[in-house]
Symmetry: C2
Subunit: 206 residues, 2 copies
DNA sequence: TTGTTTTAACTAATACTATTAGATTATTTG
DNA sequence: CAAATAATCTAATAGTATTAGTTAAAACAA
């Protein structure tokens, strides 16, 4: 028949989504590196070896989450507001989107930007997605640095890297100090406006 | 006798140092979270259970390294130059010392500032050392922010946190991108002067 | 120098982990 | 209906941290 094989595939796809959903729950609860392949299987009511029909290894699960994480990240950075606004607004939007993604997807963020699992190395395909996403996010921002309102005395790439480091540092420290608080609250989560103002004070035309 | 018992204690202390040295080697080679209690014992020529005569658990080894790491960190931050110099010199010295510690002790730095081992929670005693070290490093720096050359329009604690985030972000990204390069080289490792200049441009009296 | 206590090592065992091999059952296709 | 495929199982391997119980040696007190 024509419908039957599709049903099996649908079941299979559903099982894969279940696996990834359970994996993320466990990563959030026990820590990214504490993910147990066996425990995922047991939660699904399977014996651990059966899970190998869906993923070749535990690291293959990490890899799929890594890839999807960067896809989501790229999408959210692309859809953020303020890209065509004044530099300050653009910077604020970029920092908030970056930090919000990290706060709302702490499991994925750790997997993507920290390296909590020592023997997990992203596949070439996932690495390509990752580099593409990061480059796209940076390209969006280079335009802002070429604004007529700014007077930056260092090479654009360096200015961009300073911004990235600032953004990353604020995000890391927000997650370390107030992981439960949304962007805008907490010791570091509330500093985005002050950070943007500092950058503008340094780079704005006098 | 009087000398004999001291000899045994000396042997014991030497073994403890050996254990910690081997642990750090393994963490650098295989990753912090990949440290194997059994492998340390085998390297020492012991059976794994014998190692429990020196450390109560694998996490106790992490804990001792965590504590010593913050002691070293505090000492290096306290001894750094430029603390009484002009604000820009003080900032540059602080950032360089912070990043150099991270670059030269990547195993300890990960254990201290990232959280690569999910079920390792520092003991209260080690946590106290850690908080003391961080607070001391920050206190050194508050003086710099009160300099007469600066005109900061936000609360001092916020200015301090912005600096910390910037410093931390540059360091994280240096280790992620050019872990083998010393401070001053590499995409992010060379940006400390530019970062300090940016902060001065924003905060210096006009 | 005795006897006692402490220390440091051992072996054996437990309960976990990811993973592989091979057999079996269920589902889908020709 | 028969053949192929997919999904599951059991059993086993080699590793992990850790605990219990034992033994030999060293240090201490008399």
């Amino acid at each position: 028949m024509t419908t039957a094989p599709q049903r099996r595939r649908r079941y299979r796809d559903e099982t894969i989504e279940d696996i990834l959903r359970i994996a993320r729950e466990m990563m959030r609860k026990e820590g990214v590196a504490a993910l147990s392949f066996n425990a995922i299987a047991r939660t699904l009511g399977m014996q651990p070896p059966s899970l190998y029909n869906y993923f070749d290894s535990k690291n293959a699960i990490y890899d799929e989450l890594f890839r999807r994480g960067f896809q989501d990240f790229a999408r959210q950075m692309a859809e953020r507001s303020g890209q065509d606004g004044p530099p300050g607004e653009n910077m604020r939007s970029a920092m908030e989107t970056y930090m919000r993604f990290a706060q709302e997807n702490q499991d994925l963020y750790q997997l993507m930007f920290q390296r909590p699992v020592p023997d997990f190395v992203p596949s070439e395909a996932s690495m390509a997605v990752s580099l593409g996403a990061l480059q796209a996010a940076q390209m969006q921002f280079v335009n802002a640095l070429h604004s007529e309102d700014l007077d930056i005395e260092i090479p654009v790439e360096q200015a961009l890297d300073l911004f990235i480091a600032f953004q990353h540092g604020l995000t890391e420290l927000h997650l370390a100090n107030n992981p439960e608080l949304p962007v805008g609250e907490g010791r570091f989560g509330k500093l985005i406006p002050a950070a943007v103002q500092m950058i503008l004070d340094a780079w704005q035309k006098v």
